[in-house]
């Protein structure tokens, strides 16, 4: 309760500071709109459905791309942790490509796929896949070997040991990696939506870019806020409970 209160107070002060900065008229209101006009935009956009539709389009792209990233990344990460050959080939590739900022994939995606959903998806997958591979690999390497030995003495075969021992044992690392992969996917999708204008769907990034085209600063800031709130919600609704569960089981963290 006390923590909630401190959050509320902090953000109220922040909003008030913003409001007074606007009142001080240091910058033109075209560049720095009042929080109330941003709120007004958000209200209108929410009412007429623009915001909701754009969010839906964005989330659909994100979940598809991120889903592919996870479905490919976790098995590949297991393989690079298990086989020296995979480590020296795909592992090195993943390590290298992970350092590439995801927005760098946009020109290539545009040339390969044109102004299509495919380009969008490609950027999201490339943005999240490598970091998921690397953290899965890292998680599996951190599993104490004694777990696998203990399982073997109890009669567990290879496949059973991998699915029932090594994978759950690496869960804390893998979940951290999935969270990081989510953040990367989110960033790369926004980059893609800003640079790739397509007609098949109007996402949040496009709404943001559209705001720039119209010189509608209230829209730009409003959409940015919406993007922040979605990121926060995903963290609180999806990842926090999983992390909390892991902390409780493992006895780590503050939980």
């Amino acid at each position: 309760m006390k923590r909630l209160l401190s959050s509320i107070v902090f953000f109220s002060v922040l909003l008030m500071a913003w409001h007074f900065l606007v009142l001080a008229k240091i910058w033109s209101p075209v560049l720095l709109p009042d929080p109330f006009s941003v709120w007004e935009y958000l209200k209108v956009a929410a009412m007429d459905g623009t915001l909701f539709d754009a969010t839906l389009v964005t989330l659909r792209r994100l979940l598809t791309g991120y889903g592919i990233g996870i479905l490919l990344g976790i098995p590949v990460g297991m393989l690079t942790a298990r086989f020296r050959f995979m480590e020296d080939t795909v592992g090195v590739l993943a390590l290298g490509l992970q350092t590439l900022p995801s927005v760098c994939w946009v020109p290539l995606a545009l040339l390969w796929f044109g102004q299509t959903e495919g380009a969008m998806l490609f950027v999201v997958v490339m943005g999240s896949l490598w970091s998921i591979i690397i953290s899965t690999d890292n998680g599996i390497r951190n599993v104490p070997p004694i777990f696998a030995r203990a399982a073997r003495t109890m009669g567990a075969k290879q496949f059973y040991t991998w699915t029932r021992v090594i994978l759950p044992a690496s869960a804390p690392f893998v979940v951290t990696g999935m969270k990081q992969g989510w953040a990367f996917a989110w960033r790369s999708l926004m980059a893609a939506e800003i640079f790739v204008t397509i007609l098949t769907g109007f996402g949040l990034g496009q709404l943001l870019e559209y705001g720039r085209d119209l010189h509608a600063m209230d829209q730009v800031i409003g959409v940015m806020l919406a993007i922040v709130v979605i990121g926060l919600l995903v963290d609180k609704i999806i990842f926090s409970p999983i992390e909390h569960l892991l902390h409780r089981r493992w006895g780590t963290g503050r939980a």
């Binding site: 104490p144 004694i146 777990f147 030995r149 203990a150 399982a151 073997r152 003495t153 109890m154 009669g155 567990a156 059973y160 029932r164 021992v165 759950p168 044992a169 869960a171 409780r248 089981r249 493992w250 006895g251």
Partner: protein, 271 residues
């Protein structure tokens, strides 16, 4: 198979270790961990393998478990060669090696789930039986990190016992515990050994512990790992680690051990 059949004491097994040799490559050359070890372990024996670190006693235990393979020689269990791990030989390690993503019950069930011919209800019943045997019944649904060191080893013991093995292999299972907890576990393991009739091979570097638990104490010396001497401990179980008779056995073994550990140097001196 019914739970009653499952919980019946199985006949303990006889182990025959015949000319087992094992070496490991290290940075400074090959180390001969076990040099032509032969040892017969009878049905229901409680054998303690004692020796300083590096004498290969843990390696021998892993070979009996089937986790490692000897360079030459073989291990027979009731006449059949050991080639891989099996539920008839369960291992307890120095670390409890409990799975933190499962609760205590889940850990005990882990080995049982790999056992066919039982349904899940029966498996739970079997698991509860062993949790009761080690005194952890009330902690069935605790997380692993909530248990004390001694309770963790009890849970690990229950997990090893649950598949009803004929041989229990224990690798310094109590070494990391405090003295008081250890004494309680000495009592427990002796009680379980006599109730459940297992063949136990117990590795330790603690001579007193060996004398307290085993009916046989086998002495190893390092570089290369060899069996030096064997002691028969003819005291009735359960034994108290602090008893005077035990102390006299322990000091005899310690004296012998000292002789063997110093031996290479004396040999060098004689040359």
């Amino acid at each position: 198979m019914s739970v009653q059949d499952e919980l019946k004491s199985v006949a303990p097994a006889k182990l025959l270790i015949d000319g087992v040799t094992k070496s490991f490559p290290t940075r400074s050359g090959t180390v001969l961990a076990l040099d032509n070890i032969s040892l017969q372990i009878n049905e229901g024996d409680f054998v303690c393998l004692v020796g300083p670190s590096g004498c290969g006693k843990s390696t021998l235990l892993n070979i009996i478990a089937g986790l490692e393979h000897p360079d030459s020689g073989l291990t027979l269990m009731d006449g059949k060669p050991v080639t891989r791990p099996g539920r008839d030989r369960m291992v307890m390690f120095q670390e409890p090696a409990l799975f933190p993503w499962l609760d205590v019950m889940g850990n005990v069930l882990f080995g049982l789930r790999l056992k066919p011919n039982l349904n899940n209800k029966e498996r739970r019943e079997v698991a509860r039986f062993y949790l009761r045997l080690v005194g952890l019944e009330e902690f069935a649904h605790s997380n692993i990190h909530e248990l004390s060191g001694g309770m963790k080893q009890r849970a690990a013991l229950a997990r090893s016992l649950a598949p009803n093995p004929r041989v229990l292999l224990m690798d310094e299972p109590f070494a990391a515990l405090d003295a008081l907890t250890r004494e309680q576990l000495y009592g427990d393991i002796q009680r379980i050994w006599s109730e459940r009739a297992k063949t136990i091979v117990f590795v330790t570097h603690n001579v007193r512990e060996a004398a307290c638990l085993g009916n046989r104490v086998v002495l190893f010396s390092p570089h290369p790992g060899r069996v030096r001497e064997e002691f028969q401990i003819d005291l009735p179980h359960p034994r108290d680690i602090n008893s005077v008779e035990l102390a006299s056995y322990a000091s005899r073994i310690t004296r012998a051990l000292r002789g063997y550990v110093d031996a290479p140097e004396t040999e060098l001196g004689a040359e």
